[in-house]
């Protein structure tokens, strides 16, 4: 009995029709393809994209060079050097992130006691040479300055879960 059933199924291209039916269903279903860059997927406030360094409202950089992010970074992508500034405060003289190493885990952001290093919503950046993705302190601060409004909004949204 099984064998006969099998024979007819093969003969009448049942599997083919079944497959085509699925294709047909999707042919008329709502499309989910996003036409990047004209269209964009929605982003959560915890989106982990390109890094940025923030400043306080008075323009003072937040980073105090505690090196917790350097210590926690699983990809060893962060390199920091610290010295005493003339006013006696502890500041970084070097803060580099090698984005070719970075795995965007967000640990740096999580470990930062002053919310200085953050990951922004930016994900469409590129480098043409290998060195282009080696971000230094001025570059990170510039990103922070440019996107501070969005960054602050995201931190505020996340604050009640922290």
């Amino acid at each position: 009995m099984e064998k006969i059933k099998e024979f007819f199924k093969t003969f009448l291209l049942f599997e083919l029709l079944k497959g085509m039916a699925l294709t047909g269903r999707y042919m008329f279903a709502r499309k989910i393809t996003v036409q990047f860059p004209e269209e964009r997927t929605p982003q959560g406030f915890r989106f982990r994209g390109l890094h940025a360094q923030r400043r306080y409202a008075n323009g003072e950089e937040r980073c105090i060079g505690c090196k917790l992010c350097e210590a926690v970074c699983p990809a060893l992508a962060i390199k920091i050097a610290v010295a005493e500034r003339e006013d006696g405060t502890r500041r970084t003289t070097q803060y580099d992130i090698d984005l070719t190493k970075c795995i965007f885990c967000g640990f740096c952001e999580e470990s930062c006691p002053v919310d200085a290093i953050v990951e922004t919503r930016i994900f469409e950046y590129h480098g043409e040479k290998r060195g282009d993705l080696y971000y230094t302190k001025p570059m990170l601060l510039a990103i922070g300055d440019k996107h501070e409004t969005q960054i602050a909004k995201d931190r505020a949204a996340d604050s009640k879960y922290r």
Binding site: I64, G65, C66, L68, A71, V82, E84, G88, R90, P113
Partner: protein, 805 residues
């Protein structure tokens, strides 16, 4: 012995020990801050509260004596509640600035808060703020708000350093750790307070913000400075030494190190470091590769050996060099036929050469110092020359020992001294003879005939009698000769008399080794009378100038007994090869500079003053083209075709030179065949020079330690005179006078110092300001009227410390 139960573990502990000691024995950790095994118990942090059965309240483990049958719980509900409560109180006023605190990551408060504290704080009121203090160039007290008032630093000052430089002022919330008004912390052991501080209130100023503790690699090493051979933990980051802390060795340095050991690492990273071999050609220095530089040296030496004879080649080495370096240096010299090798650069009396039983050493293990009950310390700037040995003597004195001093300067030793004989340098021998004579009559023992004859003529003064009386009452007598006595022009006789004094009391006699490897250098044969080829000693090499000098880490104008003579000899020489880690004054007269590395960059061995051979490995790689001196000497040996120079490792050199690590039969202070001739010479015109080597000028490394050079101990030396001498000259403290010795003279600020005997003038050696003068002993003249410009110095600060002392 009593039995006590801690957390269910039965331990046997001594009568009179505390619960904390018992817990330590049982391997149970009780959190604590103010308790430290080397300091007295204050029980003021309350962190070590534990539950003791039948006690109504939790008791502090550090201050509760263990009693038989006591049952202690460290993790019971009551104990945990107490610990949590104390922790919460301690954190009330502690700022939450761990991210910028240098102690972060190695902080006791952080660790204990993690282990025993609650999750979060209920305290929402304002925290107290303590104003920053300025207590010197070594310890940073910028964040005194972090202090939890454990008073370890205060107790350290009182009990270990011997002077209470920090204290706790005010009460309760206003309590603050501070120094006395406007004074800095100048103790030569002050850096230990940084280690002791369980929080980040006292941190290292030179290290400030350099690295976090988790970034550092830790390497064991041995101090290259004084004769003790303190064990160090060298912390490195990115192939650079960034910090040095104490490594515990109960038999040597306990858990302390001196500031010199701790902060001299700054000299390792000095911009003056020599990085490439250099040759002087037509008066100009050019950098070359190793091969041509060594060829140049080998050719030069070969030429001088064949033209003038090998005995015209001389080698001087500092006893801060490693055993391996010194062994190869003397082997090289002897290999090319010259015995002119010496490490005793500041010594002036060589009459005991070959007459001493072995290497001059401490005469006892360092740890035995604590057990001695009578000390006779002869000719030693004890605190500055041997900070930690002084500390051990201080502990012994605290436990009832009596210290007696025979010296030319009455510097404050920060311990009670029962008898002092402060005399001019040329009376040192006479004073010892008096002590010996008084002691012999006290003990009613006959002296050996030769000695008896020599001391017969002296008249015993009251001071000598008192010293003899003190010594004769002792069971464990230690007679110790300091650097000053070893550098004295009658050092051999002083040694002989001191040995006799010790023998009369059945005590021990020893030399406080000047440098990290003073004993090792002797054992390595870096003396002219060792081995088959004999030669000239350090003084002869200069008084009868040689044609070629090999300098191993030596800066002749600062390291030699007579810098004047040394410089003349160097300038007159055909060839001077300076093996040095630094570009220094040798640029003027040397022909070749070979960059060798300091202790942190080579493997090696130091044999400390008690004869303990301590080997260490390099902590970092050699800087640039600099190479370990033993490698340089090895290649030089090959180039000069000296046989037996095929070592692969420094261990192979040590194995050949040191044979075995049991050194007992190679150490010996017994002197035989030295005539005693007690005459006070040179009591003519002028003042007797008393010269110390300032603590931060003693060797090449520490001279370049920037922070140490800013301390009061590193101030430009003044000429110090007894007040009566000042009156005679008609000058007052602060005036500039002309100090002349022989043909040379320098301008120095004059300073009254009534701790000196009249008729003497204290002028430090080993400092550029006085390098133009001659020998460390002798007469100097002081003339006034040359009111040239005031030498730029910090003499007033130095004077201040003298007055306080």
């Amino acid at each position: 012995m009593i039995n006590i139960e801690i957390d269910g573990k039965l331990v046997e502990t001594e009568q009179g020990s505390t619960v904390m000691d018992a817990a330590h024995k049982a391997g149970v950790y009780i959190p604590h801050f103010c308790y430290h095994k080397k300091l007295s118990i204050s029980a003021n942090c309350r962190m070590c509260l534990v539950e003791v059965e039948k006690a109504p309240k939790p008791l502090p483990a550090c201050a509760t004596p263990a009693a038989d049958g006591m049952k202690v719980h460290t993790h019971s509900e009551l104990a945990v509640k107490a610990q949590k409560g104390v922790m919460e109180f301690l954190l009330i006023n502690h700022p939450l600035d761990c991210p910028i605190c240098d102690q972060g990551g190695e902080c006791q408060l952080q660790d204990v808060a993690m282990g025993y504290g609650g999750g979060e704080s209920r305290y929402t009121e304002e925290k107290r703020v303590v104003s920053p203090k300025q207590i010197g160039e070594l310890i940073s007290t910028n964040e005194m708000s972090r202090c939890i008032q454990c008073t370890r630093c205060v107790r350290f000052g009182q009990e270990i350093a011997g002077i209470m430089e920090l204290g706790m002022a005010n009460r309760t919330e206003h309590a603050q750790i501070m120094s006395f008004v406007n004074s800095s912390v100048d103790s030569e052991l002050s850096g230990n307070m940084i280690d002791l501080c369980p929080v980040g209130a006292l941190t290292s100023k030179p290290f400030r913000y350099t690295a976090r503790s988790w970034e550092l690699s830790r390497r064991k090493s041995v101090s290259p400075h004084d004769g003790l051979g303190s064990n160090l933990a060298v912390h490195t980051k990115d192939n650079k030494v960034v910090r040095v802390v104490a490594a515990e060795n109960e038999a040597v340095n306990e858990c302390w190190i001196s500031d010199k050991d701790r902060f001299s690492y700054e000299g390792l990273n000095s911009p003056e470091r020599l990085t490439r071999p250099m040759i002087k050609q037509d008066g100009k220095w050019i950098e070359v590769d190793w091969a041509p530089a060594l060829e140049y040296v080998a050719n030069g030496l070969r030429q001088i050996a064949s033209n003038a004879g090998a005995e015209h080649i001389a080698a001087l080495a500092t006893p801060h060099s490693t055993f391996e370096e010194l062994y190869l240096l003397q082997k090289l010299l002897r290999g090319i036929g010259s015995g002119n090798v010496d490490y005793r650069l500041r010594q002036s009396d060589f009459s005991a050469d070959g007459k001493q039983a072995g290497a001059p050493w401490l005469g006892m293990p360092v740890a035995d110092i604590n057990a001695a009950d009578r000390f006779l310390i002869v000719g030693s700037f004890l605190r500055k020359d041997h900070p930690l040995l002084a500390q051990r003597i201080r502990q012994a004195v605290k436990h009832g020992a009596q210290a007696n001093i025979v010296h030319a300067a009455d510097d404050d030793l920060l311990m009670p001294v029962v008898n002092k004989a402060i005399i001019a340098p040329n009376e040192l021998l006479n004073m010892l003879a008096q002590v010996l004579k008084a002691l012999a009559s006290e003990k009613q023992t006959a002296l050996p005939a030769a000695v008896q004859q020599a001391v017969a003529a002296v008249t015993v003064t009251a001071a000598a009698g008192a010293i003899a009386q003190s010594l004769s009452g002792g069971q464990q007598v230690a007679v110790l000769l300091g650097n000053f006595a070893q550098q004295h022009p009658q050092a051999a006789q002083i040694g002989l008399l001191a040995e006799q004094i010790a023998a009369l009391c059945a005590g021990r006699f020893g030399y406080l080794g000047e440098a990290a490897n003073s004993v090792g250098a002797y054992l390595a044969g870096a003396v002219p009378f060792a081995g088959d080829v004999q030669g000239m000693n350090a003084a002869q090499m200069l008084s009868e100038p040689r044609k070629a000098y090999l300098l191993l880490n030596v800066e002749p104008e600062l390291d030699m007994h007579n810098p004047q003579l040394a410089m003349n000899a160097m300038r007159a020489a055909d060839m001077v090869v300076a093996m040095s880690a630094y570009k220094h004054h040798a640029m003027d007269y040397a022909d070749v500079l070979l960059p060798v590395v300091p202790f942190s960059e080579t493997s090696g061995t130091f044999v400390n003053t008690e004869g303990r051979a301590q080997s260490f490995k390099g902590a970092v790689k050699p800087l640039a083209e600099a190479r370990p001196a033993w490698k340089v000497l090895r290649v030089l040996g090959n180039l000069l075709d000296v046989s037996g120079f095929d070592y692969d490792t420094s261990e192979a050199v040590r194995a050949e030179g040191l044979h075995t690590l049991s050194l007992d039969d190679k150490l010996g202070n017994r002197i035989a065949g030295v005539e005693i001739n007690i005459t006070a010479d040179g009591n003519g015109a002028g003042l007797q020079r008393v010269s110390d080597v300032p603590i931060y000028s003693a060797d090449a490394l520490v001279r370049r330690a920037v922070s140490l050079q800013k301390t009061t101990d590193a101030a430009v030396p003044c000429v110090m005179l007894h007040g009566s001498e000042l009156q005679k000259l008609g000058v007052v403290s602060g005036d500039t006078v002309k100090v002349s010795q022989g043909e040379a003279s320098v301008q120095l600020t004059v300073q009254a110092n009534n701790q000196l005997p009249p008729g003497t003038a204290r002028v430090a050696a080993g400092h550029p300001a006085t390098a133009a003068l001659g020998a460390m002993f002798g007469t100097i003249e002081i003339t006034t009227g040359h009111s040239t410009k005031q030498p730029e110095n910090a003499c007033q600060v130095a004077g201040h410390s003298v007055e306080r002392a």
